[in-house]
Amino acid sequence: MPLLRVESVSKRFGGLEALKDVSFALYEGQVKALIGPNGAGKTTLFNLISGVDTPSAGHIHFKDHDLGGLTPHQACGLGVGRTFQHSKVFDDMSVLDNVKVGRYGRSGAGLFSAFFTLPRHRREERDITQGSYEALRRVGLTDRAGELAGNLPVGDRHLLEIARSLATEPTVLLLDEPAAGLNNDETDQLAEIVRRIRDEGVTILLVEHDMGFVMNISDEVVVLDYGQRIAEGPPLMIQDDPEVIKAYLGEDL
């Protein structure tokens, strides 16, 4: 049984049909890439899966749940983690504090515990710190924990977003253009980290324009164009698919 099943999902914004009857499945332990030209509906689909938006039609099944109509924090609680295309790192907070926010849903000390530093607060703060360092270790940012997030170079910012999301202990991690703005070395390093995260048991769905990265890392690729799924399969097959070549490169080539 697939971990995540997107079933005939459509999304309309007024007159614009951003997604039309899209279906695919994501199996546990996979790295699956979602590719397509700008405006194909990739980020829209991410928003539907992570609870930011609700599908106009169709269903998104995750484990035993229907994600439609859930809020982002509920989706996160079920095990859907995500990063953003445009970095939403908390710049003027430390790297460690950024990741600590990710432990929010895995702890529960409320207002009064915090006000009066009750035992629950103190116990959880230890766990939160420990869990955050663990997440930083997984992306190799441990020694930058004390720095202001805003001082990190772009590659490390992507890694911080991933660490923050890993701190929520996701079952599936949605990565929105993690390789954007990275040089070749950084991209290779990122591929290494993504593979390791997958090996540690996190299923990955990613949107990416860097085709070298996508082909290198993905088990399967879904291609969207104008909100429709035009192809799905292993990277090598997708590369030679005439529909895909047409969508990407136009008719001329």
Binding site: G51, T71, C76, G77, V101, G105, L111, F115, T117, L148
Partner: protein, 335 residues
């Protein structure tokens, strides 16, 4: 011993401030000065709550006078009309303020930026108009007089010194718990949702709940301050809870420093002390505040609490030496 020393060191700013605040009445018998100090304490409570709302969670309120008004009128009405115990009246008023904050918070905190400012401003005006118009309950613009002093176990808090210690004792507790909040799971979630609601939600933070909750906390702080105030001056009228007061409160938070709990301390002190020096130019007080607000927003966006850090940065820039990264000497880590 080492543990005690490290505790003292970690909390040196708070302990130092607490000692100064509690010792102040020992140095003056002047009732006027004592009153100014005590009112600084009640003002500080409101500003502190608003600092959590605006500075930590990034949600502006231009109607906060209303919550102080609810506390003030709640205490006044309950104690003069129904002879409710003043402490019980204070608690009931705070409960009412929290309820009102919860009810108006759900719709208004969905608004952002200017819209939230307008929404809260409207709320403040509505409360003010109700205070004026519900004459059967509030006595309209004439106000309510004869509000009793607070007392407990034979201590009469109508006396300036006792009142000072009571108010500042409570204010210091509020400061302590606010500092604690900042460095906690809830505090971090407020800071995070201030910076990006989308990112915070994706990390599991129930932002809508947290925003309403911090508004309720700030309403309770303001309400308690309002209650203390009327038990000391024995009189309340709607003119104390106008839009002007709301704006002064928000200005105090910004001038003191958004984002740092200690900003509420410095802002309250400055905004209470300055008018005393400007006494003979009273007409220009608001003008001075306005100019100060503009200057601070341009040259010192972190507020006066950030003067130390800004001076360091300036010295470093002039000296050309850079060593410390993000050097920010926040007392108590109260950023």
């Amino acid at each position: 011993m080492a543990a005690v020393l490290s505790f003292l060191k970690r909390h040196s700013a708070f302990i130092g401030f607490a000692v100064v605040a509690m010792a102040a009445p020992l140095f003056t018998q002047n009732i006027y000065y004592l009153s100014v100090l005590a009112f600084m304490g009640t003002r500080f409570m409101i500003v502190l709550g608003l600092n959590l709302l605006m500075g930590q969670a990034g949600q502006i309120s231009l109607g906060h006078a209303a919550f102080a008004g609810i506390g003030a009128y709640g205490s006044a009405i309950l104690t003069t009309r129904w002879e409710v115990n003043p402490w019980a009246a204070m608690a009931l008023s705070a409960l009412l303020a929290a309820t009102v904050a919860g009810v108006i918070g759900v719709p208004t905190l969905k608004l952002k930026g200017h819209y939230l400012a307008m929404g809260t401003l409207g709320f403040g005006e509505i409360v003010y108009i109700l205070l004026v118009q519900f004459k059967w309950l509030t006595n309209g613009t004439d106000g309510i007089s004869g509000i009793p002093s607070l007392s407990l176990a034979g201590i009469d808090f109508g006396k300036p010194q006792a009142f000072h210690w009571l108010v500042w004792g409570v204010a210091l507790i509020m400061l302590r718990i606010s500092l604690n909040l900042v460095d906690s799971r809830v505090g971090r979630s407020l800071k995070a949702l201030h910076r990006s609601e989308a990112a915070s939600m994706s990390l599991g933070v129930n932002t809508a709940y947290r925003k309403v909750q911090v508004l309720m906390v700030s309403a309770v702080f303001a309400s308690i301050a309002g209650s203390f105030y009327v038990h000391y001056v024995h009189f309340v009228s709607p003119s104390s809870y106008t839009l002007t007061f709301s704006v002064i409160l928000a200005t105090t938070v910004v001038i003191g420093g958004l984002g740092r709990v200690w900003g509420a301390v410095w802002g309250s002190i400055l905004m209470m002390v300055l008018p005393e020096f400007l006494r003979q130019y009273q007409d220009y007080t608001n003008l001075v505040f306005g100019v100060m607000l503009i200057l601070i927003m341009i040259f010192l966006p972190g507020g006066i609490v950030s003067i130390g850090g800004a001076a360091d940065a300036l010295r470093r820039r002039i000296g050309g030496a850079s060593g410390r990264s993000g050097g920010d000497a926040a007392p108590e880590g109260g950023s």
